[in-house]
Symmetry: C2
Amino acid sequence: MGLVVQKFGGTSVGSAERIKNVAERIIEEKQRGNDVVVVVSAMGKTTDDLVKLADELTERPSKREMDVLLSTGEQITISLLAMALNAKEVDAVSFTGWQAGIQTEAVHGNARILNIEAERIQAQLKLGKVVIVAGFQGATEDGAITTLGRGGSDTTAVALAAALKADKCDIYTDVTGVFTTDPRYIKNARKLFSVSYDEMLELANLGAGVLHPRAVEYAKNYQVPLVVRSSMEREEGTIIEEEVSMEQNLVVRGVAFEDNITSVTVFGLKDPLTSLATIFTTLAAHHINVDIIIQSLTDQKTMNVSFSIKDSDLEETVKVLEENKAALSYEKVTSEQGLAKVSIVGSGMISNPGVAADMFKVLASEDIVIKMVSTSEIKVSTVIVKEKMVQAVEALHDAFELSSVPVIA
Amino acid sequence: MGLVVQKFGGTSVGSAERIKNVAERIIEEKQRGNDVVVVVSAMGKTTDDLVKLADELTERPSKREMDVLLSTGEQITISLLAMALNAKEVDAVSFTGWQAGIQTEAVHGNARILNIEAERIQAQLKLGKVVIVAGFQGATEDGAITTLGRGGSDTTAVALAAALKADKCDIYTDVTGVFTTDPRYIKNARKLFSVSYDEMLELANLGAGVLHPRAVEYAKNYQVPLVVRSSMEREEGTIIEEEVSMEQNLVVRGVAFEDNITSVTVFGLKDPLTSLATIFTTLAAHHINVDIIIQSLTDQKTMNVSFSIKDSDLEETVKVLEENKAALSYEKVTSEQGLAKVSIVGSGMISNPGVAADMFKVLASEDIVIKMVSTSEIKVSTVIVKEKMVQAVEALHDAFELSSVPVIA
């Protein structure tokens, strides 16, 4: 008999019918003899509706009050799910974030979990009850309600699994697992049996979108085994854990991609020593997210630096750079919009230095010009024109034989 | 500089526009130099919508989970109102019931407030902030969310006013005050300048409906001056306080009425000593509310008792009496539906024994047969046929000159 944490997202609890379906999944887990702690998000469009109400009142709602407002979304779901379980004669009890003992930083809208006082949950588990916890929320030491920001319910689930020493944490979602690449674009995409935390982190950061990086990091730190699986279908999902055993021979585990990328190049920076720090500090202060950064010294005196941003941030980026031209001391700025990022990810790369070269060869054979390259130990990212993104992903998916490996389950 | 508690009901906060209007009323009070604590209900139809969600899942939702669900309604309002005040550059902070330190019994759906730990509110008032508290809710010692049942937000406001030693508690509602009788039925109804707690209690119990009796009782116990007034119009409301000074000469202060009353008579009870206790204990156990009770010994051996209930409770009442016929030991039960209760209320009656007689004379002159009578120190209630209810109220309102006394303000 073990302890399983289950997490169901907003789509999975989007209606009374779906909440009943979730209750069934919980009961199945109970019938396997496990204790169950469930983490749920707000129902479907609830959060959007609440944001709309706030918008009618003010353009700049206080972050503290937004947390009070938005946290009602999950509170509605926990009570309804508890009722659905009670209706099926299963004892269940709901807890908001503060009731579950989830203590966070005093950062409204994007708090981190500091500690979980799990006694109240443990007492209810001992009574044989299913414990349902509101995801995405907690409270500060002073008792102010906080929310955890994007991916918050995933993080709640993983943090609870860690605090309760759960045997695993099942993330139920609207896909059946983690795929070698996005199945909506690439027909041959294959569901992975398992990936490592690091691989999942790179995939998540690259826009694979199934799990929030913060949740994966938390799971890695506390060695919580995660399973990503479908709330509607019964098939096995993808296990995320430290050591990936079954597909160890795979050098590349997935191909991730993302469009609407802009590359920006700043030419002729006069101060190679401090320019980099100054540019990116300035951009961060204006909330511009920079992804890839490439820098090369062109001659002894000046430096060029290129970086990638989202298309939508270009206007603001150019404005910020121009306003700070004197302080940054550069010659000119150029940019190119309409690009895409295509990356291969796999922990097997670490011991296999030719993988990046293989990737470049594949793209060259497809007549795809690489605009930028960035590498890490388990990832190679390239920036290319958006029009060739799907072509590039298909070619790489085939070349690294990602579709031909059978699912092991 | 004083402290004022303001309470706004669900209609007053039913839309973004109305919440902005409430913010204006709060700012007006602040500008008079007072500290302000605001208690709000859930927006208009929110509670109904939440109940509907629960109904889709189960016919018998757990009361604990209903409290978790319904308490989100006020939580939404407090955050929105705080945002509306912030948007007008007024510092405000919202508190749920548990954050405001409102401790209740562990009775879900109908809890009583046990204690208010007001330190957190006081600290925020010291910082010059408007404190907005969710009405109708609290938490048990164990941290479970509770709701206070009907009239809950009124009670929250009065309890906070008592705990904070506020100078007054303004109940903003959709009427402009307490009237001598219901202005929707009786044209000459006049707004009272003031009523005593006891008079208000009788009026509230008699269906005047402006304020919940529990809130009035609380106000009386803690001597909190209440003002009932309109949230939309600026005119003065009605003061509810211990000593009514300005209209002391008024023997009768109001005429209350209520239809859909049934009278039930149980004939030939064999045990005059214990029958009364047994009957009403049995009915209470079946959640049947009994209003007027009249009892008379007909001969030495048996007793008859009459009482009034709501029309809708008749079927259940007859069923309960028949099921317990052996234990209660009576001859027969009769009932009459389609009745109405008409009452006159006024603390001046205590020292004026002819008032009841005056009332009976007025009804007799209108050819209205009195079916039942019940009297208290400040109230005389009569039960008559429903069809003559409005006629009776108009005649009494005129006879006691309720419309001719000018408003003193």
